[in-house]
């Protein structure tokens, strides 16, 4: 086996960031938060469309649905993950994980998917607020996901 080559490096990013000047951390974070916030309405509409797509799949129950369910659940996670959508992100992540594991194990089952999609709709309709009801909903999803994995 050849000897590993170890190099001590300093990246151009590190050199540039070491230069004096720039902005305060508070300032750049405020600016980034403000600019990101401008996308929220459009993104929530995209998430709504993805959940509607999942509802259609649950109603139609097509053959070999794993990839499409995973794609839509991942879309919810990818977009919701930019904002504080609390339970919506968690429920989307749980669905993506459940779909991924059921597909890998070749053991697809619709009821766990259906429960997740209903939870996503409830959370969306409730404005993605984290409260006692959504916490209970998420712990229910956790149990459903664990059962689907076993």
């Amino acid at each position: 086996m050849t000897e590993p080559v170890i190099t001590r490096i300093q990246t151009s990013l590190a050199q540039q960031m070491a230069q004096p000047g720039g902005r305060t951390l508070t300032d750049v974070q405020r600016r980034a938060d403000e600019r990101l916030g401008r996308h929220k309405a459009e993104v929530m509409a995209e998430i709504e469309a993805a959940v509607a797509g999942l509802e259609s799949l649950c109603a139609a129950r097509p053959q070999a649905p794993g990839a499409e369910v995973y794609r839509l659940a991942s879309r919810v996670v990818d977009l919701a993950g930019f904002f504080d959508t609390g339970p919506l992100f968690d429920a989307g992540y749980s669905l993506a994980d459940t779909a991924d594991r059921m597909t890998a194990a070749d053991a697809w089952d619709w009821p766990p998917v259906q429960v997740h999609v209903q939870a996503l709709r409830l959370i969306l309709n409730a404005g993605c607020e984290r409260n006692a009801a959504t916490e209970q909903l998420l712990s229910g999803l956790k149990a459903v996901a664990a059962k689907a994995r076993s």
Binding site: V5, L13, T24, V28, A32, R35, V77, A96
Partner: protein, 195 residues
């Protein structure tokens, strides 16, 4: 005390995301961070074309394209490009990492994997960490990228290190007499220094 600052006024960032809205949001975040230039591409294949033309200072990628995903892109960057481009920091962003991808994330050579939720605060913290990143760059048959050990405590106990600089984890017997307490106190005692 002066507040900490970040200077990205000279930096070019390559942003890659196969979800158009996510790419726009990443762009807005980096606009807020005050980068000099951002290059946005919707696929890793397109990002490769950019790097074949010019260097960048930081790459942020979230791409699940089967033709070339973020992991394959990073392997290409680390193995197929010349230095110093191959050292470019890569932050790989992921929403849900499928089971098959978890190990790949560790082994492809990224500087950081950030799992969503991704807030500007999290991203900022990681960029600041990269600015002070003192990890060495490792190139061997099975891995090319920053040292995966954030802290280097030497080889595992009972194993011989594979690197020339690895020290033995076994300290061994003392070869000199113990220092007495007075000597230790002298070493720790604050001394007046004339300037």
């Amino acid at each position: 005390m002066a507040e900490d600052r970040i200077n990205l006024e000279q930096s070019t960032v390559l942003l890659v995301d196969d979800t158009p809205q996510a790419l726009d949001m990443l762009g807005s975040i980096f606009q807020g961070f005050g980068v000099k230039e951002q290059i946005k591409r919707p696929s890793a294949v397109e990002a490769v074309k950019v790097l074949q033309q010019r260097p960048v200072d930081l790459i942020v990628i979230d791409c699940g394209d089967p033709e070339m995903d973020g992991y394959a892109f990073t392997r290409w960057l680390r193995r197929e490009t010349p230095a110093p481009m191959r050292y470019t920091p890569v932050i790989l962003v992921t929403g849900h990492a499928s089971q098959s991808k978890v190990q790949e994330g560790r082994d492809c050579g990224v500087s950081f994997v950030i799992t969503k939720p991704l807030t500007p605060a999290v991203l900022l913290k990681r960029i600041l960490w990269l600015a002070g990143d003192e990890r060495e760059f490792v190139e061997c048959e099975t891995y090319v990228g920053p040292d995966r050990r954030v802290r280097n405590f030497g080889p595992p106990v009972g194993m011989t290190g594979r690197r020339k600089g690895d020290l033995s984890a076994h300290v061994g017997h003392a070869v000199e007499e113990n220092m007495d307490q007075a000597d230790i106190d002298m070493l720790l005692k604050p001394q007046r220094v004339s300037l």
